[in-house]
Amino acid sequence: MTEMYPVLTDNISRRNRTNIRFRYLVIAGSVITVIPIFLIVGNLAVKGFRQINLAFFTKPAPDTFQAMMAASSGEIIPGGIANGLTGSLLMVVLASLFAIPLGLMTGIYIYENSSLKYARFIRNLTEILQGVPSIILGIIAYIWIVKNITRGYSALAGSVSLAIMMLPLIIRSTEETMRMIPVSIREAAFALGTPYYKMIYKILIPVSFSGLATGVLLALSRILGETAPLMLTALGSPAISLDVTRPVSAVPLLIWDFYNDPNMVSLVWSASLFLMVFVLSMNLLARSVASKHKYI
């Protein structure tokens, strides 16, 4: 009898102790994970908050002499990140114009033709593209645009490198969102005689809107903080410029510039704080959009 139904030999209290120990281990692990986030945000807030005022958003970066004068007399460094803001905005808008339509179309194509070899090939390429280091995308944009089209560092080149970064993110999220739409919805549309293109833009895209928007917003927040490819393409500029054929600055590029100037260290913190809060709010926005327009 005992061979057939072995009795539990270890005592229950030992098993309970193991259980409790394991639970505390898991909690400790999660605390260790979030501590750096609080440290980073806290540090940025404490050190960067002093510099954030209206001029921070409306004035371009100061030159090193102005900064040195202010720093030596203990005042707030004049000037701000306006040239970085406009540059970032210009390049992100341009990159979106390239990447959003292309990414949506490619994602829909891959989803609709997932049985085709060519579509699978494209999907694999997309995955590879996602793994390409961003500095290499910068080099590519440098060769394509800086050397051959604008013949000099330019916002256009920066946008192209950022757009290439956005593409795989949008393509993947589009395909995955479309995959969640039940086949029966598509069939309902076809059973009403709906032409294919209309099924896509009147049914598939609206139904999956939240997923598509989330993908786009996450891609945007990803490229907002990107620095490496911009060093080889947009270069940076002390002036506020909206000319796509000229070099422009960007917020992450400014952080790098501030870091390299010992007189502007306090601006590093403010610019970083701003960038972090901005990207964070993009993520929150993505979440609220995702929950608001959720149909599937």
Binding site: I185, E187, A188, A189, A191, G193, P195, K198
Partner: protein
């Protein structure tokens, strides 16, 4: 078997074979007809090809390029394969197994979706009339007239299914194809749909796929019994249920398989 005059048949299926993979016919050489203003039930065990046969009648198979169809289906004497798909699907509407209102559209928009998705422009008054008529026909009007501009997915399963019927009949089709329309519904919602079908056959011709024999017996006028892709037997529902000619039909009806 077929002693009614030709003109009384809305649909004529002629030697129809459908294959999902080459050499494997899911529907094999089916010849049958569907009478006007009646309910024709297609019965059979799972995998016998009854849904496949139904979905051929409005060319849904064209969604899936692997599917090969042979033979012909005539709608009022004209081959459906010679019509434009939009024209065909305006005449042959479809209701699916699971309620599938468009989740991005309101109840109102769902009913007129057939028009808006095909760029058929209507005046507001025409649209209002179509919506009210269609919803009255599916006995949903009184339940939803206060909430026409809410999303269709807020409705209960049975209401959603009636909304889907309304969407299909808003086009005023000749034939309505129903692919196990009650299999996802509870008994009360099911009986409402069955009552509705009895009313709808006055205006439309209904073809109903069901694996529920008692449902077929309750509401259909004619029945077809399919087994392994073949049409084993068809005829008046009363006759087929009481005196089946084929031993396979009898075995199915008495619950020996299926």
């Amino acid at each position: 078997m077929n002693n009614t005059p030709q003109s009384n048949n809305v649909l004529e299926i002629r030697d129809l074979s459908i294959a999902y993979e080459p050499g494997k016919n899911a529907v094999n050489g089916v010849t049958a007809s569907v009478k006007r203003n009646s309910i024709t039930a297609i019965m059979g065990p799972s995998g016998c090809g009854k849904s496949t046969l139904l979905r051929a009648m409005n060319r849904m198979h064209e969604l899936y390029p692997n599917i090969r169809t042979k033979g012909d289906i005539l709608l009022d004497g004209q081959s459906i394969f010679s019509m434009s798909v939009i024209e065909l699907r305006r005449k042959v509407g479809m209701v699916f197994q699971r309620p599938n209102p468009f989740p991005n559209m309101t109840i109102y928009e769902n009913v007129v979706a057939g028009f808006s998705l095909n760029d058929i422009r209507l005046k507001k008054s025409q649209r209002d009339e179509i919506v009210e008529n269609a919803l009255r026909n599916v006995t949903l009007w009184d339940e939803v007239k206060e909430s026409l501009y809410r999303k269709g997915t807020f409705l209960s399963g049975g209401q959603q299914q009636r909304l889907c019927v309304a969407r299909a009949i808003a086009f005023n089709p000749e034939v309505l194809l129903l692919d196990e329309p009650t299999s996802a519904l509870d008994p009360i919602a099911t009986s409402k749909i069955e009552d509705l079908l009895g009313e709808l056959k006055k205006k439309y011709t209904l073809v109903l796929v069901t694996h529920n024999m008692s449902q077929a017996a309750r509401i259909s006028d004619d029945s077809m019994f399919m087994y392994l892709g073949e049409l084993v037997e068809s005829g008046r529902t009363g006759t087929l249920f009481t005196t089946p000619k084929d031993p396979r039909t009898e075995a199915y009806l008495t619950g020996k398989f299926g």
